[in-house]
Amino acid sequence: MKILLRARDSRWLAPAAVVGAVLLTLLLTAGPIRLAGANPLAAYERYLVTPLMSLTGLGDVLLASTPLIFTGLAVAIAFRVGYFNIGAEGQFLVGTVAATLPALYLSELPGLIALPLALGCGALGGAAWAFLPAWLKRHARIDEVVTTLLLNPVALLLVQGLLNGPWRNSETGFPDSDRFDAGYTLPALVDGSRVHWGLVIALLLVLAVGIVLAFTPLGLRLKAAGQSPDAARFSGIPVATLKWRCALASGAIAGLGGASQVLGVQHQLTASVSNGYGYTGVVVATLGALAAGGVLLVALLLGDIAVGAQNASIVLHVPTQMGTIVSSTLLLTVVAFLAARRYRLVLRRRPPRTQAPRPRAPQPQAPRPRSTQPRGPASTLGQER
């Protein structure tokens, strides 16, 4: 028995791998669901179908997807260019803080000025939080993975520190900020729904990023810099500069997501404002194949699962953490299946002896390529040939 690299990737194989991964995810997660005392089939229906069957449910899905679109896009553009920003969590949180600043200190402003100001502050805040890792990467070549990761707990501490200190609620004394004035509320899209204009901003960003990545020379350069930095550098693409800019843009998008969340949903800063959206952004970006459209679809799917998980925890008493288990299992099975599809299993008997066995090569063979998989970010899904 032998595992060989496939010479060609047939067209049906990738979709088949995704279907296989989804089936395996359902199978693997059935165990814990049963452990929680629920029927897996009923639970899957709750997770995937129930939220889509009612208007409120659909609204909740869109609401839950909105921050994931932001963080997913943020991670996707950074991973595209080969900058592994795993700090979207911290950038999102600092975005919420920065958007809260004008809301607390310039609370009288009318919405027309206040909202752009707060959103801009959020984006700036996210970019500022991304600045240090990006700067260290560019000027001291310090691995961005570590520094972005380390700044996540620091950002959470910043939020908690502000809420326990100067921004403590002046009426209740709880560690939540005061509620924002009317000018700092992202209006609902439809009356009576909680879906807010943040979703529109997210969709516009998806459109913009999608166009840039797919149809512009810049998009091509980013892809080249990410997938094969040496070749890109050789052909005159300023890889380090591109990484630097994408790092800051990534932080800005995550920060904008934080601003949208705090202005559109919470209407006050709370310590639980993020709920792991930044880390989930890595899942969204990877499953979305680092493409804008993919990010949108996966964000909607994970939003659906998140709402379903809330629902299932109330009706079926399956803890909400099941949502995390399902989405992370899905991530791992999908990347595993997509990687596995590049190999085929050959069960071979003794080869027919038509000619004399060749003598062993006396010396090592010519240098072979280091790996079957280039280390570029797009290889996360193993979609290259």
Partner: protein, 299 residues
């Protein structure tokens, strides 16, 4: 003001212990060429499984064993993803961390209905009452056994040489007859076991109970310490002590009246900032293992 130096130094050792265990595990992984971002989740799983087993069986030793097994299993999951399948290591690691934390929190919710958190059997400090030397057994083991042992293994043993060969140049290692995949699996299982041990220290020695978010970024600290320590055992231990000292210092300052005005959260963030600062000063221009992040497959 009289500063309780001995107490702070003793706390330094205690705080550094989980980082030393998990850091040693991360050294083994990264020397074999694998960045294991599953470390945070693996520590979390070690903490939770250790706690669970100890509270069910009443034996802290059994809990520790279970944590080691859980860590080894988490390591083999990383192996399946990154060695056998060659998945991107950042994605596999973050996915593993998310999955393990989700699974532990889920089980925690099911087994212990919210609020009623059981207290478990735990290890006691040795030499109680001797101040600085009153440390947990796992602390002594980390500094006096595990770290020297790994240092020797990496430097002089056949396994250590194979491990480094596989991480530096898998083609050459393969040509020399070293099983690349097997060595990497061993590294991940062994490293995962050490990370699980580090997590179990938090529940089975330090706290005696399990709380959500108990690891709170210590895994990421370890990844930073590896770079800071350039993949060498003693510098990484020194980095863990540096973090431990910063953390012990902030804990001491938090109860010192003169520092009452400083926000507590700023003090808690202080050791993280120290690590980033240390990385910025001493982490420049480091040489990564040759096959870092690169999956290996015979052409």
């Amino acid at each position: 003001m009289d500063f309780p130096l001995i107490a702070v130094l003793a706390a330094t050792l205690t705080i550094a212990t989980p980082l030393v265990w998990a850091g040693l595990g991360a050294i083994i992984n990264e020397r074999a060429g694998i960045l294991n971002l599953g470390i945070e989740g693996t520590m979390y799983a070690g903490a939770f499984v250790g706690f669970l087993t100890a509270s069910a069986s009443g034996s802290a030793t059994l809990g520790l064993l279970a944590a080691i097994i859980a860590g080894a299993l988490a390591g083999s999951l990383m192996g399946l993803l990154t060695v056998t399948l060659g998945v991107n290591q950042h994605v596999a690691g973050i996915g593993t961390t998310l999955l393990l934390i989700g699974a532990c929190d889920f089980s925690n919710r099911i087994l212990f209905s919210a609020g009623s958190q059981a207290v478990t059997a735990k290890f006691d400090r040795l030499f109680a009452g001797t101040g600085f030397f009153a440390q947990y057994p796992m602390t002594y083991l980390a500094f006096l056994v595990a770290a020297p042992a790994l240092w020797w293994v990496l430097r002089s043993s056949g396994f250590g040489l194979r491990l480094r060969a596989v991480g530096e140049n898998p083609e050459a290692a393969d040509a020399a007859g070293i099983p690349v995949a097997g060595t990497r699996y061993t590294a991940l299982v062994l490293g995962g076991a050490l990370m699980g041990t580090g997590g179990a220290f938090l529940t089975l020695s330090l706290l005696g109970s399990f709380t959500l978010d108990i690891v709170s970024g210590r895994g990421w600290i370890c990844i930073a310490l590896i770079i800071f320590g350039r993949w060498k055992v003693w510098p990484v231990v020194a980095g863990a002590l540096l973090f431990g000292f910063a953390d012990a210092l902030q804990l001491q300052l938090a109860i010192t009246p003169q520092f009452g005005a400083v926000p507590n959260e700023l003090l808690i963030a202080f050791p993280y900032l120290v690590v980033i600062g240390a990385l910025a000063i001493w982490g420049r221009g480091v040489r990564y293992p040759g096959a870092y992040l690169v999956p290996y497959r015979r052409a």
